[in-house]
Symmetry: C2
Subunit: 468 residues, 2 copies
């Protein structure tokens, strides 16, 4: 275990000199509370000793050099919208907030590239890119997330079927090592075979290797048309079984989501309006994007036929812009609605997409076995299953006793089907202890050696990702 040093008055003065008095928060401030947690439902709060908000890569480099020399823990923080406790400063120390690194440096329409600082909000980036007729299609849902946080967790979302995840759009990264050294990897090109590509390693490393400061993103041309299909089924099993059949159609499907009735009911309560077909036990939602309405109509027809043949009750395609937006909002609000219902755990296991029906079936059996309700929803088209473990109405002693076993059994089931612990949320502090269920100790040791190559003193986001 690393030994860290507390932030002294002397260090504080030096931090103030680097970033300016206004951009340093100390424990006397009420504002500090915001920096003690992220959006994980389970993570304990933990206050930092100081929050610093540099606005240049050079200032970040200075802060890190200072912290590294003094052996102070540093927790990098993006938008704080993470779901795994990755931004919680478990050791106190310094929270390094990227919020002032909020400039889109360039949208390069010749190279179809955006160069952006890490602290830009995803919704701002998307708006600026779309204003120029271009498109950044990765859609993790939470618009107030920082693009840097998206990169640090390899965020995914609901358009991964065609487009993939954050990883698939990052062309280059600028980052700062714990030592203060600034590194750059990749650039405005898709081809590179010039020594090790560090950028893909930093993607998903959750702030444990370096502080990501600037990202070069690949953009694509915006497809002008999109369709939404909402498909009620007579059982969850039938809904999920339709998924591989839909995927085999080879239509321009960018997202394919599934919802249980329980989730729909919770969203109805959250949005305070009824959702069509809510009497059905399960639903698929398909998102299509294309060059023209005609292609999409053909695609929608094929999907509808396959779904009806697989036991769908009906296929609803909202035609009005308002109805379409309302329905899309249903999927967008899954997480906040479920959050309002206070789940006791949120899991985001990924399995090969052909195994989703098996996996959800096994989860339901485990849920029944332990007597703890688990609601499933998520990205059927890419195998990323979101499981919300609900605690309402269950006695506390029961779930405290059995929850760890339930979670382990769920993770083991996913891994046994060729899956992984987390598809897009990361491990942070909340899921790190499950890593050995998926990756052998020897390989975890290799990762720790890699970390040491980046950060010999282990000051960056300590006690995250790897089990204690």
């Amino acid at each position: 275990m690393n030994q860290f040093v507390s932030v002294t008055e002397d260090i504080l003065q030096k931090l103030v000199r680097i970033v300016g008095r206004r951009h340093v928060i100390t424990s006397s401030s009420a504002e500090m509370e915001d920096y003690s947690h992220d959006e994980a439902p389970t993570a304990l709060r933990h206050f930092p000793e100081v929050v610093v908000k540099p606005d240049t890569t050079e200032a970040i480099s200075e802060v890190l050099r200072l912290a590294n020399t003094a052996h102070i823990a540093v927790t990098p923080r993006g938008g704080g919208t993470g779901l795994s406790g990755g931004a919680v400063p478990l050791y106190g120390g310094i929270v390094l907030s990227l919020e002032r690194l909020n400039r889109i440096q360039e949208i390069d329409e010749d190279n179809f590239v955006a160069v952006t600082q890490a602290g830009v909000l995803l919704q701002d980036l998307r708006r600026e890119v779309e204003r120029r007729g271009l498109y950044y299609p990765v859609y993790p849902g939470e618009g107030t997330a920082h693009i840097g946080g998206n990169v640090a967790t390899n965020a995914g979302g609901m358009r991964a079927v065609t487009y993939g995840v954050t990883r698939n759009f990052v062309l280059g990264i600028e980052a700062v090592l714990a030592s203060g050294q600034i590194i750059r990897s990749g650039g405005k090109f898709v081809k590179c075979s010039t020594a090790y590509d560090l950028a893909p390693l930093l993607i998903g490393s959750e702030g444990t290797l370096a502080v990501i400061t600037e990202i070069t993103l690949r953009l694509i041309a915006k497809l002008p048309a999109w369709h939404l299909l909402y498909i009620p089924f007579t059982s969850l099993h039938k809904a999920i079984e339709a998924v591989p059949r839909i995927l085999k159609l080879n239509v321009p499907l960018v997202g394919l989501e599934f919802l249980e009735q329980d989730v729909v009911r919770i969203i109805e309560a959250y949005l305070e309006r009824a959702i069509p077909y809510h009497e059905n036990p399960a639903f698929l939602m398909a998102i299509l994007e294309g060059r023209g309405e005609e292609d999409l109509n053909d695609a929608a027809r094929s999907i509808a036929e396959v779904c009806i043949a697989s036991g769908a009750e009906d296929v609803y395609i909202p035609m009005g812009a308002r109805a379409k937006r309302d329905l899309f909002e249903v999927r967008e609000k899954v997480y906040p609605a479920l959050k309002s219902a206070r789940p006791i755990e949120v899991l985001d296991v990924v399995v090969p997409r052909s195994r989703i029906a098996d996996f959800v079936g096994e989860v339901k059996q485990l849920s029944a076995h332990y007597g703890i309700p688990v609601i499933a929803s998520g990205h059927a088209g890419d195998g990323n299953v979101h499981l919300h473990v609900m605690g309402k109405g269950i006695d506390t002693i029961k779930w405290q006793t059995h929850l760890p076993d339930l979670l382990k059994d769920i993770y083991r089931a996913g891994v046994a089907m060729g899956g992984m612990i987390s598809g897009e949320h990361g491990l942070g502090s909340e899921k790190k202890s499950y890593l050995p269920l998926a990756i052998p100790e020897e390989q975890i040791d290799l990762m720790k050696r890699m970390r040491q190559a980046f950060d010999p003193n282990g000051i960056l986001n300590p006690r995250k990702v790897f089990p204690d």
Copy 2:
């Protein structure tokens, strides 16, 4: 510098026990010559002490454990089609040939995934995948390359405009560390945020971190239609200037190549037939793929209009299957044809695609300045410029004196435009000395520390990628 030990009679016996007498070649064999070089025009030959050909991951693990304990250099070798000397055993030692790891383990039509051993030939993989109506679109040209070698160099090729490069299709990797430890990263899913993703780091690492044994590849549905456009221009500058205008059309363009007349003449000599429009000084070749002929006709028309407006002499779209194949062969044979003309250097600088005209212009000036001819061709659509330095008719003393300066100036020009030394060939032994022109020493040191985390004794492909 690492100290390596020679292969003793005792080690040889142990190697024979692991892989079998028939699969060990010693220096007494004439077959050994094949393993002393790759296809780099400049690399010196160097014989290994022994070639071993294991056919399982476990046997590779045993060979490496043995070599690591004894401190013997190991050079992993795929198809030997590399262009940078990456497979040349500079220290002698063991050449670990992957040629018997040649099984396609699975083509999973539900998950659109192929699982293949590293030693499968690209052409065999492509054929098997296409037999099932699926598609692996990365097209580096050389069908006898191993897919493992493609991964180790992050091979690109001529369909990168839409599809990207090898990196964009690798979902998972199994590899063996120098210690014999077998590691696995990724799997049959596109989303993952579960500790560090090792697979993307191994991609492009040229055998210096681990021996790649098995790869899980993403496949896509094969698009049924393709078109080829061949566009003669009145100058190279005009041809290249048309590129960003074509790319902005947002048509389903998978490749956009450029050729100089010198290259066309060399290909004519190599193929022993005339190529249409050969009297023109420069050409673009566009490859389109789509769902139907109609879409492609529209796209072809748009490209033709833009090109004519940019100074194209004509736009030729071969209609017959034979004419189309003949023309496609022109691009496919660029490298073998140029090779037959005995270039003294082959470069594959990558720059942001908007900078290609500037870059090629600067290369031509440098070529004139040093009096050494440089022929340009390559992937205009993705910024990857292939430069063949020709020695014919120049006196040897002159090019021996000035060649290093010319190369450095070319690399500096590319890097100054935001590019990199190699887009797809890798650094191997032949380009490693130029790495410091693109990447600061401090960052190279970080890479060396990473290497040490994987291979503490440095036995894997020593003296490659990094300058001596």
